[in-house]
C-alpha cells in the first residue's frame, strides 16, 4: 500500500495527540493554544480530528483500510471488511482532519462491535453508509457537503440501493479510503431517492436524531414526549432548573462558607454520599488539610473516626488558587494527583 508512509505519520500524530488529551499538563498547553490560536492549533495533519476520535486512529484507519492492510493492527480492521464484504481495492491515504473525522465518526461503533457491521447500526448513526465495492463501476455521486474537501481518488465505491427487505443497512465504510475522499457513499433505503443531496440530508438528520435521542434519555420524562419542539422545551427547562439549583446551592454554600472546616470532609471526599454522621467536632477551625496518604497527625484524634483507610483515589491538595492565576488554573490538573505534602506542619491541631 502506497499510503503506508502517510498513514504512519497520521497515526503518530494522532497518537501523540491522544496522549496529550489525557494529560493535564498537556491540557494547559492546549488551552493556551485555544486562547492564542485557533482551536485546532495542534498539528494539522489530521491530528486534531483523528485524535479526537478517542478510538485510536489506528483502529479508525484500520476500518478504512482493506483487509490486506498490514499497518492496521486493530482486529476490527480485518473483521470489518470481511464482515462488510466490501474489500476495497484501494490503498487509502490517510484522511485530512475533517474528512476523516466525519467518516470515522462511525468507526468507533464498528471497532467496538468488532463484528460484521454490515447490518448493525451499533449506536449513533454513522454518518456514512457504505456500499459494496464495485470495481470498475461508475463513479459515485459527489455529495454536497463533501465538496470542500479535496477531491479524492475514490476507488471502486458506489452507491447502491439497499438490497434486501428494504431494511436500511448502514455501514460506515472505508470508502474514505484516502482521507481526501469527498464523497459520501450512502446506501439508500428502498424506494428512497438516491440523490446525493437527500442522502447527505438523511445522514445529517440521522445524526441529529441520534443526539436528540441521547438527550431525551438524559432528561427525565422526555422519552414520552413526541415532537422535537416539545422535547427541546423540556430539555431547556431541565437545564434551567439545574442551573438554578446550582445557584441556590452556591448561595447555601456561601452562607456556610465562612465557618467551614474543610478538614472534616473526609467522608465527603471519599464516599459517594452521606453527610457526616459523627463530625470531626472541629467546628470552624482553621482550614486544615486532610492527609489521605500519610499517617494522620496524632493530634487529629478527633477525625480518626472519619478518616477512611484507603489512601487511593483523590489526594487532597492543599488549596491551590484554583481560579486565581491563569497558569495555576491548569496546573492544578497536574497537582491533583500529587499526594498531600507536609502541610500538616502548617496546621495546628
Amino acid at each position: 500500500m502506497g499510503s503506508a508512509g502517510s498513514y504512519g505519520v497520521g497515526t503518530g500524530n494522532s497518537g501523540a495527540y491522544v496522549t496529550e488529551i489525557s494529560e493535564p499538563a498537556r491540557f494547559e498547553e492546549e488551552i493556551r493554544s485555544l486562547i492564542q490560536a485557533r482551536f485546532d492549533a495542534p498539528p494539522v495533519s489530521g491530528g486534531s480530528f483523528t485524535a479526537l476520535l478517542g478510538l485510536s486512529a489506528n483502529q479508525a484507519v484500520g476500518l478504512l483500510h482493506e483487509p490486506g492492510a498490514g499497518e492496521i493492527s486493530a482486529p476490527a480492521a480485518s473483521s470489518s471488511p470481511t464482515g462488510l464484504g466490501h474489500p476495497l481495492g484501494c490503498s487509502p491515504t490517510f484522511p485530512s482532519n475533517a474528512a476523516l473525522a466525519e467518516r470515522a465518526a462511525s468507526f468507533p461503533v464498528f471497532a467496538a462491535a468488532d463484528s460484521p457491521a454490515s447490518s448493525s447500526d451499533g449506536g449513533p448513526s454513522p454518518p456514512l453508509k457504505a456500499e459494496p465495492p464495485d470495481p470498475d463501476s461508475s463513479p459515485p455521486l459527489p455529495v454536497p457537503f463533501d465538496k470542500p474537501r479535496r477531491p479524492a481518488k475514490r476507488k471502486d465505491c458506489e452507491k447502491q440501493k439497499a438490497k434486501g427487505p428494504g431494511k436500511k443497512i448502514k455501514t460506515a465504510e472505508e470508502q474514505t479510503e484516502g482521507d481526501q475522499l469527498p464523497y459520501v457513499h450512502v446506501r439508500a433505503r428502498r424506494g428512497q431517492a438516491t440523490d446525493s443531496h437527500s442522502l447527505a440530508e438523511r445522514a445529517r438528520r440521522e445524526k441529529i436524531n441520534a443526539r436528540m435521542k441521547l438527550l431525551q434519555e438524559l432528561v427525565p420524562g422526555c422519552s414520552k414526549i413526541t415532537g422535537t419542539a416539545l422535547v427541546l422545551d423540556e430539555i431547556i427547562n431541565h437545564v434551567q432548573s439545574l442551573q438554578r439549583q446550582v445557584e441556590f446551592l452556591s448561595m447555601r454554600l456561601a452562607a456556610v462558607n465562612p465557618r467551614i472546616d474543610f478538614g472534616g470532609l473526609d467522608s465527603f471526599l471519599m464516599a459517594e454520599r452521606g453527610p457526616l454522621a459523627a463530625s470531626n467536632g472541629r467546628g470552624e477551625a482553621a482550614l486544615d488539610p486532610v492527609s489521605w496518604s500519610s499517617d494522620p497527625a496524632p493530634g487529629t484524634g478527633l477525625r480518626t473516626d472519619l478518616r477512611p483507610s484507603q489512601q487511593s483515589s483523590t489526594a487532597w491538595v492543599y488549596p491551590y488558587a484554583l481560579i486565581d492565576h491563569g497558569t495555576s488554573l491548569f496546573g492544578y490538573g497536574a497537582a491533583n494527583s500529587v499526594p498531600l505534602n507536609s502541610n500538616q506542619s502548617k496546621t495546628d491541631l
Binding site: 479526537l52 422535537t228 419542539a229 427541546l232 462558607n257 467536632g281 488554573l329 491533583n336
Partner: protein, 178 residues
C-alpha cells in the same frame, strides 16, 4: 469524550462514548468534589465568599473536571481566564467562532427546520455556555454533556452543603458541651 469544534465543516464524529455515563461515574464525582473544595477554599482565602463567587468557583471546578474536552467547559474556563487577565490589565484576544447557521437549511423534510424548533435550539444554545452559534449537531452533543455535568454538579454541591451544615452543627454542639 473528546469533542473539539474547529472551523472545519460541520461534520463531526459522534461521541465515542456516551457522555452522560462518564459524568455519572463515581470517579468523576470524586474528582469534582476535590476540585470544588479547592476552589471554595481558594475563594475563601481570597475573601470572595459571596454566592456568586462560590458559583463561579463551582462552575470552574466543574469545567476543570471536564478536562476541557467539551466546548462548554472550555468556554467556562476561558471566560474566567479572560476576566482575570483583563483584570490584570492584559488583553485577551478571544477568537470569535465562525458564525454557523444555527440550523442548516435543508431542502428535504426535516424536523429541525421548523420555526419553533429553531427557536428552541437557539435558546438551548444560549443556555449552554459557549454554544451560541453552533450547529445543531454539535449543540445537541454539547447539551447532553452539559446536562450530565450539571446534574453531577448539583448533586455534589448538595452533598457538600449538607455535610458542611452537619459538620458545623455538630461541631458547635460539641464545643458547647466541652
Amino acid at each position: 469524550m473528546i469533542s473539539i469544534d474547529t472551523t472545519a465543516p460541520a461534520k463531526r464524529r459522534p461521541k465515542p462514548s456516551p457522555p452522560e455515563n462518564e459524568w455519572r461515574t463515581g470517579a468523576q464525582e470524586r474528582a469534582y468534589r476535590s476540585s470544588l473544595l479547592e476552589a471554595l477554599r481558594a475563594a475563601g482565602e481570597r475573601r470572595a465568599s459571596g454566592p456568586r463567587a462560590v458559583k463561579e468557583a463551582a462552575d470552574s471546578a466543574l469545567a476543570l473536571t471536564a478536562r476541557g474536552q467539551s466546548r462548554w467547559s472550555r468556554a467556562v474556563l476561558l471566560r474566567r481566564r479572560s476576566r482575570l487577565l483583563v483584570r490584570a490589565g492584559g488583553r485577551i484576544r478571544r477568537r470569535k467562532l465562525p458564525r454557523r447557521r444555527p440550523v442548516g437549511p435543508t431542502p428535504g423534510t426535516g424536523q429541525p427546520e421548523g420555526k419553533k424548533v429553531r427557536d428552541r435550539l437557539r435558546a438551548l444554545g444560549r443556555l449552554v455556555p459557549g454554544c451560541e452559534n453552533l450547529s445543531t449537531v454539535s449543540l445537541l452533543e454539547e447539551a447532553a454533556d452539559y446536562v450530565a455535568a450539571l446534574e453531577m454538579q448539583a448533586k455534589a454541591m448538595r452533598t457538600l452543603a449538607d455535610d458542611l451544615l452537619a459538620a458545623a452543627a455538630s461541631g458547635n454542639g460539641r464545643r458547647a458541651e466541652g
